[in-house]
C-alpha cells in the first residue's frame, strides 16, 4: 500500500530518534560495562585495576541478592496489578457524566505531581508513622493497635506508596483510551440488552487492551529502577526485607562509593529488565498492533 517513497520518508523520520537513543544507550552502557570489570572506588583512587568478574560475583554471593531480585519483581508486579485494576475502575467511573468532571480529573491525577521523595516522606511520617501518623490515630480511634507499616509490612507499604504515585498515570491513559471508544457501539449494545458487565467484558475491555499493554510496559520499565522511595521510607529494611536490586546498586554507588560494583549491578539490572521485557512482549506484545 505504501509507496517506495513513503517508506523512504518514514525511514528518515524514524532515523533521528533511533540515532539519539542509540548514542544515549551505547555510550553509558559501554562505560558501565567497562567499569563493571574494574576496581573503581571513588574514595580510594589509588587502588585501581582489572578485577575480572569479581564485581559480579560479589552481587551473586551477596546474601541479599536473590531476595532483592524477588522483591524487585514483587514490587513491579504489585504496583502493576494495583494501578491497572484500580486505574481501569477509576477511569470507568470518571468517564461517566458526573458533576465537576474537570476538577475531579485534576484531583485524581494530582498525586503524579508530587515529587517522589516528598511523596515518600509524607507517607512515612504523616500517615504510616506508628505514633504520629494518621493511620495510627485512626487505629487507636477504633480501639485497635497501630499497625507497624514500615517495620512489619515494609514491602507492601512501599508498594502502596509507589502504586499511589503511579495510579494517576494509568488512570490518565485509560481515560484517554475510553474517550476514543465510540458511544454508538455502547448504546447499541445497551439496546440489545447487554448488561453492564458484558458490555465491559466484550466491548470496553477489548478496546482497552492496547492502553493496558502500554501502561504495563512503560510502568514496568520505570518501576524496575525505583530506589528513592525505599531509601526515604525503609532504607531497604528492616534488615533487607524491602531491598530491591536498584536499591542494592544505590547503596554501592551512593553509600559505599563503589562504582565498579554499582556498574556490575547496573549490567545485571539491564539483563533482568530484558528478561522481563521479553516475557512481557511474548505475553501481551501482540496487543500493540491492534
Amino acid at each position: 500500500m505504501s509507496t517506495h517513497s513513503t517508506r523512504l520518508a518514514a525511514r528518515f523520520m524514524v532515523a533521528p530518534s533511533v540515532l539519539v537513543l542509540f548514542i544515549w544507550m551505547i555510550v553509558p552502557l559501554a562505560m558501565t560495562a567497562y567499569f563493571s570489570f574494574r576496581l573503581y572506588r571513588l574514595l580510594s583512587p589509588d587502588r585501581t585495576g582489572w578485577v575480572g568478574f569479581n564485581n559480579y560475583v560479589w552481587f551473586f554471593n551477596s546474601p541479599d541478592f536473590w531476595l532483592a531480585l524477588t522483591n524487585t519483581l514483587l514490587l513491579v508486579g504489585g504496583v502493576l496489578v494495583i494501578t491497572v485494576v484500580l486505574g481501569i475502575l477509576i477511569a470507568l467511573l470518571i468517564d461517566q457524566p458526573v458533576k465537576g468532571q474537570g476538577v475531579l480529573r485534576i484531583l485524581v491525577i494530582a498525586p503524579f505531581f508530587v515529587m517522589p521523595p516528598v511523596a515518600a516522606s509524607i507517607w512515612e511520617n504523616l500517615f504510616m508513622h506508628p505514633q504520629n501518623g494518621l493511620f495510627a490515630a485512626l487505629a487507636r480511634g477504633l480501639g485497635g493497635q497501630p499497625i507497624l507499616f514500615l517495620e512489619q509490612h515494609p514491602l507492601p507499604s512501599v508498594i502502596g506508596i509507589v502504586a499511589w504515585e503511579w495510579l494517576p498515570f494509568a488512570t490518565l491513559i485509560f481515560v484517554t483510551a475510553l474517550q476514543s471508544l465510540s458511544s454508538e457501539q455502547l448504546e447499541a449494545a445497551e439496546m440489545d440488552g447487554a448488561g453492564a458487565l458484558s458490555r465491559f467484558r466484550y466491548i470496553i475491555l477489548p478496546h482497552m487492551t492496547r492502553a493496558v499493554t502500554v501502561v504495563i510496559l512503560i510502568q514496568t520499565i520505570f518501576l524496575l529502577g525505583i530506589f528513592g522511595e525505599i531509601f526515604t521510607t525503609t532504607q531497604g529494611g528492616p534488615g533487607s526485607a524491602s531491598t530491591t536490586l536498584p536499591y542494592m546498586i544505590f547503596k554501592q554507588a551512593i553509600v559505599a562509593k563503589d562504582i565498579g560494583r554499582a556498574a556490575a549491578g547496573g549490567i545485571i539490572a539491564v539483563i533482568l529488565a530484558n528478561i522481563v521485557a521479553y516475557f512481557l512482549m511474548r505475553g501481551i506484545g501482540r496487543h500493540l498492533d491492534a
Binding site: 572506588r41 571513588l42 574514595l43 580510594s44 583512587p45 589509588d46 587502588r47 560479589w58 546474601p63 512515612e124 511520617n125 508513622h129 506508628p130 505514633q131 504520629n132 497501630p146 507497624l148 514500615l150 517495620e151 512489619q152 531509601f231 525503609t234 532504607q235 531497604g236 529494611g237 528492616p238 534488615g239 533487607s240 526485607a241 547503596k251 554501592q252 551512593i254 553509600v255 559505599a256 562509593k257 563503589d258
Partner: protein
C-alpha cells in the same frame, strides 16, 4: 591590610582588562540544610559589606544528597564547588587523598588555637588543618525531669548504663504512650551505627583490633547489642527500627520519651518553641560502664576548600568570616547567645553570657570527653569515635546497621546479628585488602 591590597590590585588589573569597576569573584558554597547554616545565609549582608568583591552562591541540600553530590564532584575532579561543608568522617579521608587545600595559612585573627582540641584533632591530618569547624556536637542524655521526679529518681550528671535502664523501667507507661527511652534504630552509618558505635566504646568494644580484624564476635559487642535490644524491646517505642534523629525528636517533643540519647544540638530543639516539654528537660553526660570511655560521639560540620578550586583566596576569606570568633558575636547580637553555632571554640565557653545557656556546660563536657584519636578502651588502628575514618566504613557500617536494625525489629537474635555483621565486615575488609 594585605587582603584589601590584593583586592585593590585585583580590581586594577580587571579594570585594565575588562573595564569593570570591581573584580568580582563568585564562589560556590555547598552546604547542609541545618538551622545554623540557614542562619548564616541570612547574615550574608555582613559578609557582603566587608567583602564586596566576593559573591557567594549557595547550594543548600539535605545531608545525604549533599554528601552524594560533593563526593562525586571531588572524586572526579568536577570543580563545581569552592567551599564544601563536610563532616569529621570525610575530612581525614579526603585530606589524606590530597583533595583538600590546607588551611594552615588562615590569618592570625582566625586564632586556630582557640578551636576545641578534640574537634581540631579530628580535622587535622599530618599537621595540616584541612577544614574549619563551623559547629561541633557530641551526644548526651536528655531526660524528662518531671517523669524522673514522679518515679522518685534523680539522674546523675554522669550516669551509668545501669542508671539508664533503671530510669527507663521506672518511667515507661505504655498505656499512656510514654516510653522510657528513645534511641536510634534506623539503619545507616550515620543513624543507628553512629549511636551503637559510640555506645559500644563505653562497653569496651571496638570495630577492629590493631590488625584490622573485625571484632563483632567479641563479648564486648555482644554485651552492647544485648543491652541495646533489651532496653529498646522493653522500654522503647514500637516501630523503633525506623526511628532516626528526627523521628525521636518528634516523639520527645510530644512528651512520649522519658529519655533520649542523641546529638547535643537537639538540646536547643527540645527546649525550643516546638516542644511541649520545653521546661521539663534535664541533661546528663552520655552513659558509661566505668571502663573509662563514655558512649558519646563527636561530630563537626566543617568548611573545606577542594584542592581543585580556582578561587582559593576568596574561599579562605569566606571560611575565615564564617568560622571566626566575630561570626559568633554577630549571631549573638542578632539572634541571641542560645543560637550561636556551638562546640567549636574555647572562648565561647569562657564567655559569661554563653555560660547562661542551659545546655552549654553539658555540651562542652560531652565534647571534651570524646577523643577521636583514642576512641576506645582497647587500642585501635583508626581515628573516629562513632565511625572509623576509612573509605570503606560508610558502606560496611550501613550493612551492619541494617543487620542490627533487623534485630531490633525482631527478625533475628543478637547472636545471629553479630555473626552476620562479623561475616559481612570481614568480607569487606578482605576485599579492600586490610586483612588476608
Amino acid at each position: 591590610m594585605k587582603l584589601s591590597y590584593r583586592a585593590l590590585l585585583g580590581a586594577t588589573v580587571s579594570l585594565a582588562l575588562a573595564g569593570s569597576a570591581l573584580a568580582q569573584t563568585t564562589i560556590t558554597v555547598a552546604t547542609v540544610n541545618n538551622g545554623d547554616m540557614i542562619r548564616m545565609q541570612g547574615l550574608m549582608d555582613d559578609f557582603n559589606a566587608k567583602h564586596p568583591d566576593i559573591t557567594v552562591e549557595w547550594v543548600t541540600l539535605e545531608e545525604n544528597v549533599l554528601r552524594q553530590n560533593v563526593t562525586t564532584d571531588i572524586a572526579t575532579g568536577g570543580g563545581q564547588y569552592d567551599v564544601l561543608t563536610i563532616g569529621t568522617y570525610e575530612v581525614p579521608i579526603w585530606g589524606k587523598q590530597g583533595w583538600l587545600a590546607s588551611l594552615n595559612d588562615l590569618p592570625a585573627d582566625y586564632d586556630v588555637d582557640d578551636i576545641l582540641p578534640a574537634i581540631r584533632g579530628g580535622l587535622t591530618v599530618d599537621g595540616n588543618l584541612y577544614a574549619a569547624p563551623f559547629y561541633g556536637e557530641s551526644s548526651m542524655v536528655m531526660y524528662r525531669t518531671d517523669l524522673m521526679e514522679a518515679a522518685g529518681l534523680t539522674m546523675p550528671d554522669a550516669p551509668t548504663w545501669a542508671d539508664i535502664e533503671k530510669a527507663a523501667a521506672a518511667m515507661t507507661n505504655k498505656d499512656a504512650e510514654i516510653y522510657g527511652v528513645c534511641l536510634r534504630g534506623k539503619a545507616g552509618w550515620g543513624e543507628n551505627m553512629a549511636f551503637l558505635t559510640a555506645m559500644s566504646n563505653s562497653f569496651g568494644a571496638r570495630w577492629f583490633d590493631e590488625a584490622w580484624n573485625p571484632q563483632f564476635d567479641s563479648p564486648e559487642w555482644k554485651a552492647t547489642l544485648d543491652f541495646y535490644l533489651n532496653l529498646m524491646n522493653n522500654y522503647g517505642p514500637p516501630g523503633a527500627s525506623n526511628n532516626g534523629f528526627n523521628e525521636n525528636l518528634t516523639l520527645f517533643n510530644q512528651g512520649k520519651c522519658g529519655m533520649w540519647i542523641d546529638a547535643t544540638v537537639a538540646a536547643s530543639f527540645v527546649t525550643g518553641k516546638d516542644s511541649t516539654v520545653a521546661d521539663k528537660v534535664g541533661f546528663a553526660l552520655a552513659p558509661d560502664n566505668g571502663l573509662g570511655k563514655r558512649g558519646n560521639w563527636l561530630w563537626a560540620w566543617s568548611l573545606a576548600i577542594p584542592a581543585s578550586s580556582q578561587k582559593q583566596e576568596a574561599a579562605k576569606t569566606f571560611i575565615n568570616w564564617a568560622t571566626n570568633k566575630d561570626y559568633l558575636a554577630l549571631v549573638a547580637s542578632k539572634e541571641g547567645w542560645a543560637n550561636v553555632p556551638p562546640g567549636t571554640r574555647t572562648s565561647l565557653y569562657e564567655n559569661p553570657e554563653y555560660q547562661k545557656v542551659p545546655f552549654a556546660k553539658m555540651t562542652l563536657d560531652s565534647i571534651n570527653s570524646a577523643d577521636p584519636t583514642k576512641p576506645t578502651v582497647q587500642p585501635v588502628p583508626y581515628v573516629g569515635v562513632q565511625f572509623v575514618a576509612i573509605p570503606e566504613f560508610a558502606g560496611v557500617a550501613t550493612t551492619v546497621g541494617e543487620i542490627f536494625s533487623a534485630a531490633l525489629a525482631g527478625q533475628s537474635t543478637a547472636d545471629e546479628a553479630l555473626a552476620a555483621a562479623q561475616a559481612a565486615v570481614a568480607e569487606e575488609m578482605k576485599a579492600a585488602g586490610y586483612i588476608q
